[in-house]
């Protein structure tokens, strides 16, 4: 160690480590349960492997192993037009231009600070035209504020949010519904809150809990209810067995099971929608998407050409092909379109738009890890493509998009002294 920076760094890390609190008693209980679970799974896998060997012969076992993904771009394959658009002519996804150039009608420019000199994170346009922001992000005093950008008036909506990230956000029935608790991790039960848009108060809606031996998986806002899933097994809470859906009205009350909700998990991407498989491979090749608001249930089938896929209650799904390339298909598994690079496609805004993210192998990695090289927003109706990477973090990776309610999606980024807001709902 030979620089002041390194010395200070070592001190800073030591001090930070000292600020960690000791594990709670539940920490050790969960370890015991986890070990028992792993041993149980190991026994089951061993039994399954033996049965497979006996049934298929030893030589069949290597077939189970998946080959490493093919990262070299293949020629574009268009098996059939992509609904709901004519996808015979794919747009050029290389070097997309700024959304401000592609969709100027949907981009607003605002100063980087509110009139009182605070930084802010823009979240969503409210139905009355005000902008919902998180004031002073990163500061424990941070809170939700409704900002009328026409006259500068700002109405505080919530108490101080503390330093945590907002993990759930929706605007419904005159309220901002939110949570800052980590969802999808162990050891805690996030509480969902609701703040009235007129600034008249905030009240808890529900503590997301799970029956003994299960855990909260994901949460969504469905109409005027908060709905969350429970699961058990698997390393991540969105893996394993989906044991049920629970619902509490936004006005509060007792959690009750959603009838027929067993086997479903809330969608990450689509508010109010639940699915029988989480986005990602390894699930069954077909399943059901259920829009809890409209009640519409749609069966989907994943093409053998796709390995991971996300569907809404629309006519098409997006994901990755078996060789790792960005791909889309019709909801029945037909009409596969494979894009000419490694990546993933995700439907947005009810299928009108898509997010297309491209990867490449991570330098120095020995385990097929990837890093994001480019990303685009694709209007599948008009074929226009804009740069999704305008909103990126310090590491150059795209920031998550906000779809806080059906068809309410905002992307923001900084240019000089301004913050630019793309509201996809305003794209002509």
């Amino acid at each position: 160690m030979n620089t002041a920076l390194e010395e200070e760094l070592a001190q800073a890390i030591q001090e930070a480590g000292g600020a960690a609190r000791a594990p709670l008693p539940q920490f050790y209980t969960e370890i015991e349960r986890g070990i028992a679970r792993r041993r149980r799974i190991r026994r089951i896998r061993a039994g399954t492997a033996v049965a497979l060997v006996m049934a298929l012969g030893v030589g069949a076992v290597p077939l189970i192993k998946r080959p490493a993904p093919e990262l070299r771009p293949p020629p574009v394959v268009v098996a059939a037009p992509l609904p709901p658009t004519d996808a015979a002519r794919l747009p050029d996804f290389t070097n997309p231009r700024s959304p401000a150039e592609i969709w100027p009608e949907a981009v607003r420019r605002l100063p980087r600070q509110t009139p009182d000199g605070h930084g802010y994170t823009p979240l969503v346009w409210l139905p009355d035209g005000r902008l919902l922001i998180r004031d002073q992000p990163g500061n424990p005093a941070s809170r939700f504020v409704a900002w009328d950008v026409t006259n500068g008036a700002r109405t505080p909506l919530s108490p101080a949010l503390g330093p945590g990230s907002v993990t759930l956000l929706g605007v419904v029935a005159g309220r901002v519904v939110w949570s800052t608790g980590s969802i999808g991790v162990q050891l805690r039960n996030p509480t969902v809150m609701a703040s009235k848009l007129d600034g008249s108060g905030t009240a808890p809606v529900a503590e997301l809990t799970a029956p003994a031996g299960e855990r909260v998986s994901l949460v969504t806002i469905a109409g005027e209810s908060v709905v969350w899933g429970t699961s058990k097994g698997g390393m991540f809470t969105w893996e394993g067995q989906f044991t049920g859906l629970w619902r509490v009205p936004l006005t509060g009350g007792t959690a009750e099971r959603v009838p027929d909700g067993n086997g479903f998990i809330p969608s990450w991407r689509l508010p109010g929608v639940v699915n029988t498989t989480h986005y990602g491979g390894d699930g069954p090749p077909d399943g059901t998407v259920w829009d809890l608001v409209s009640g519409r249930k749609v069966r989907y089938t994943r093409s053998p050409q796709l390995s991971r896929m996300a569907c809404g209650t629309v006519e098409w799904c997006g994901g990755s092909s078996t060789d790792g390339h960005a791909a889309v298909q019709r909801i029945d598994g037909s009409g596969v379109v494979v894009l000419p690079a490694t990546g993933v496609v995700t439907p947005l805004m009810g299928g009108r738009f898509a997010e297309v993210v491209f990867f490449r192998p991570l330098a120095g990695s020995r385990s097929n890890e990837v890093e994001i090289t480019s990303a685009a927003l694709w209007d599948v109706t008009t074929g226009k493509v804009a740069n999704r990477m305008m909103a990126r973090d310090d590491a150059g990776q795209p920031l998550p998009l906000v779809e806080s309610a059906p068809n309410l999606l905002l992307m923001s980024w900084q240019e000089g002294d301004e913050i630019l807001l793309l509201d996809l709902a305003r794209v002509a």
Binding site: T3, A4, L5, E6, E8, L9, A12, I13, E15, A16, G17, G18, A19, A20, R21, A22, P23, Y28, I31, E32, G34, I35, R38, R39, R42, L123, R134, P140, P163, G164, S165, T167, V185, Q186, L187, R188, T220, M235, W238, W268, R269, L270, P271, Y279, V344, T346, E355, G364, S365, R366, S367, E369, D394, A395, P398, L399, P400, L401, V402, S404
Partner: protein, 173 residues
């Protein structure tokens, strides 16, 4: 001693230290708890085998580092397709410890592998060869990663407060 008893004893003795290690890796208490917990679960499931090899501490810390990087990558990808409105995760405890001109905050802004390299170097005091073994990468990659991470910290600190400027001036003097 019964294996389950010896593991329980080990876990109780080492968990606080592992959580601290997880805390400096992840930058927040919740992820630190999860990371240490998952690593101890894996260690417990393989306790007899690992104990016979004589280095459960190295085993569990290696698991923590690799899990941290893979979880972050996976979460990042999940968030790309998710409705999580804001990135990152902050923790109230962090503001209390950052008395060093924003250095800890700057450290938290690094990519997980960069942060892991620095933590293993300056918290665990491992050599570059040992860091390479833990991360499953070459020594050259460790060195280039550390170099870029330190450059990034220097760059970040250049734009922050007086303590950082003091640190920079000390470094350049």
């Amino acid at each position: 001693m019964d294996p389950s008893e010896s593991f329980a004893e080990y876990a109780r003795a080492r968990a606080p230290s592992l959580v601290r290690f997880g805390y400096v890796l992840t930058g927040n208490q919740h992820d630190a708890d999860d990371l240490a917990q998952e690593a101890l679960i894996r260690l417990g499931a393989a306790w007899e085998r690992v104990r016979q090899k004589g280095d459960p501490e190295g085993y569990v810390r290696t698991i923590m580092v690799r899990l941290h990087i893979s979880w972050w990558r996976r979460r990042r990808r999940e968030r790309l397709v998710g409705a999580v409105p804001e990135r990152g995760y902050d923790d109230g405890g962090l503001a209390d410890v950052d008395s060093r001109g924003g250095l800890w905050q700057a450290l938290r802004g690094l990519a997980p592998r960069q942060r892991a390299v620095l933590v293993l170097r300056y918290y665990e005091r491992l050599s570059d060869e040992q860091v390479a073994a833990v991360l499953g990468i070459s020594r050259g990659t460790v060195r280039s990663t550390a170099f870029r991470a330190l450059e990034r910290l220097r760059s970040d600190l250049g734009g922050t407060g007086s303590a950082a400027r003091s640190l920079l001036s000390r470094r350049s003097s």
